[in-house]
């Protein structure tokens, strides 16, 4: 399988200062193994675009502890105390984006669209400085496309070509992020033969996916846990 990547080689694909699009909603549908690799990689000044920064010490929260981050762009960081602290101390920049605007801006990044007009946030602090235009049914603000250097996404299964399907609401931001970065790496539970996923059921076609990595986590009781080391 041409796109298969070993987990230990993954962090070589990330450069200091990169902008990463990271799938997930909290810890759901999150590429936990890829995040772990970054946390131990010593990479610096990364910008992460993700709905949240995981939870305190978990998922993307690990990157706050290990000091890889310069900036976070997302919709909700309040529940991760480490993010709040780092921001208060001036150690982390935060750009707050309404959740729907975030999803749509990333989709635009993948779709060759420069920006879009939305009613979301019109008349609020989050609209300050943004271009406003009046359409037939009221005022809209311009939101610009978001693109990344690398997208880290989490899927349930890849086939050998790199086509992806997702597990339930673990889908969330992953399919749009898969479209919007120069390099797209998918962490999956399982790899199946091409043809096993029906054409109509593929959510992310393989043309979006550069590499597939098999997760090191195992799902027990509905939650991903690190497997006991086997040595």
């Amino acid at each position: 399988m041409k796109k298969l990547l070993k987990l230990e080689h993954f962090s070589e694909l990330i450069k200091d200062g990169d902008k990463l699009l990271v799938g997930g909603f909290g810890l759901s549908g999150t590429p936990l193994s890829l995040i772990d690799e970054i946390a131990t990689s010593g990479k610096k000044n990364l910008t992460v675009v993700s709905n949240n920064l995981g939870e305190k010490g978990k998922g993307l929260g690990k990157l706050l502890v290990s000091g890889n981050l310069k900036k976070a762009i997302g919709s909700y960081f309040t529940t991760n105390g480490d993010a709040v602290n780092a921001w208060s101390k001036g150690e982390l920049e935060i750009e707050l984006v309404p959740q729907g605007t975030l999803a749509e801006a990333i989709r635009c990044g993948g779709a060759g669209i420069g920006g879009f007009y939305t009613k979301t946030a019109v008349g609020t602090k989050l609209a300050e400085g943004k271009h406003q235009m009046t359409f037939d049914d009221g005022d809209y603000i311009l939101e610009k496309a978001i693109k990344g250097d690398v997208a880290l996404i989490k899927a349930l299964k890849a086939d050998t070509l790199g086509n992806l399907i997702y597990d339930q609401t673990g889908r969330n931001f992953n399919p749009v992020m898969a479209t919007a970065a120069k390099l797209v790496i998918a962490e999956v539970d399982e790899i199946v033969e091409a043809g096993e996923i029906k054409p109509e059921e593929i959510v992310t076609p393989h043309l979006f996916v550069d590499y597939v990595v098999v997760t090191k986590y195992v799902k027990e009781g509905g939650r991903y846990v690190e497997p006991a080391t086997t040595n």
Partner: protein
């Protein structure tokens, strides 16, 4: 605030729902509502990408990749569908969600809502609040009448940052139900033994009595 009062609010809001409606429930009091939707075919929309959200599953069926927007494990109802975040907010922003029930920090007498940020505090979360305010067909606010320290929430003018220019349609508190029409606020029901004078005292917002249908429950 007592759980009984919160349940009273949830119960009253559930009465507003009609068959076949698509409902999005925010965090806080709105999460109590599913227990009180009886005999109505409504469909719960969750902004992380699920239509047809069902109740909390038994522990053995918990899957952290099947959760609500509050990040709690849920189940799926028959006929549920899964979609990505951009499609989920297409539904919200595009007016395909019939009712959004949201918590709030403040509402003013025109129906403008402030439900994401407190001045002087860290403003690090907005989530889907502004998308729902901009896009849901009907917005119902579920809130205690005042904050814990007695500070009014229903005001003449917002002092907290606005969540958008779109006005809400209804407010339900433990004491009363208000409706908005043409940016004017109307008291339509009293839900507790509070007197109208006492209600006025804890409600700086100006409102009229909807004499036609004011109900004391």
């Amino acid at each position: 605030m007592s759980q009984q009062q919160r349940i009273k609010i949830a119960r009253r809001i559930a009465e507003e729902f009609e068959d076949n409606q698509i409902i999005n429930l925010g965090v806080g009091i709105p999460t109590l509502i599913p227990d009180y939707i009886e005999g109505k075919d409504v469909y719960l929309h969750s902004e992380n990408g699920l239509l047809g959200m069902g109740p909390t599953p038994e522990e053995e069926f918990v899957n952290m990749d099947l959760i609500s927007a509050s990040k709690k494990p849920v189940s799926v109802e028959t006929g549920a569908s899964i979609f990505d975040s951009s499609d989920s907010f297409l539904m919200i922003r595009g007016g395909h969600v019939d009712v959004a029930v949201l918590g709030t920090l403040q509402v003013d007498e025109t129906g403008e809502v402030a439900n994401w940020a407190v001045p002087g505090q860290n403003i690090l979360g907005v989530g889907g609040a502004m998308d729902l305010v901009a896009g849901a067909k009907k917005i119902i606010i579920a809130t205690m009448h005042t904050s814990k320290d007695g500070t009014p929430k229903l005001l003449k003018k917002l002092t907290f940052p606005s969540s958008g220019v779109r006005k809400v349609d209804m407010i339900v508190t433990e004491h009363a139900v208000f409706e908005f029409k043409d940016e004017k606020m109307f008291l339509i029901e009293v839900l507790s033994d509070i007197t109208l004078e006492e209600l006025k005292e804890i409600t700086p917002a100006s409102y009229e009595l909807s004499t036609k249908k004011l109900i004391r429950v």
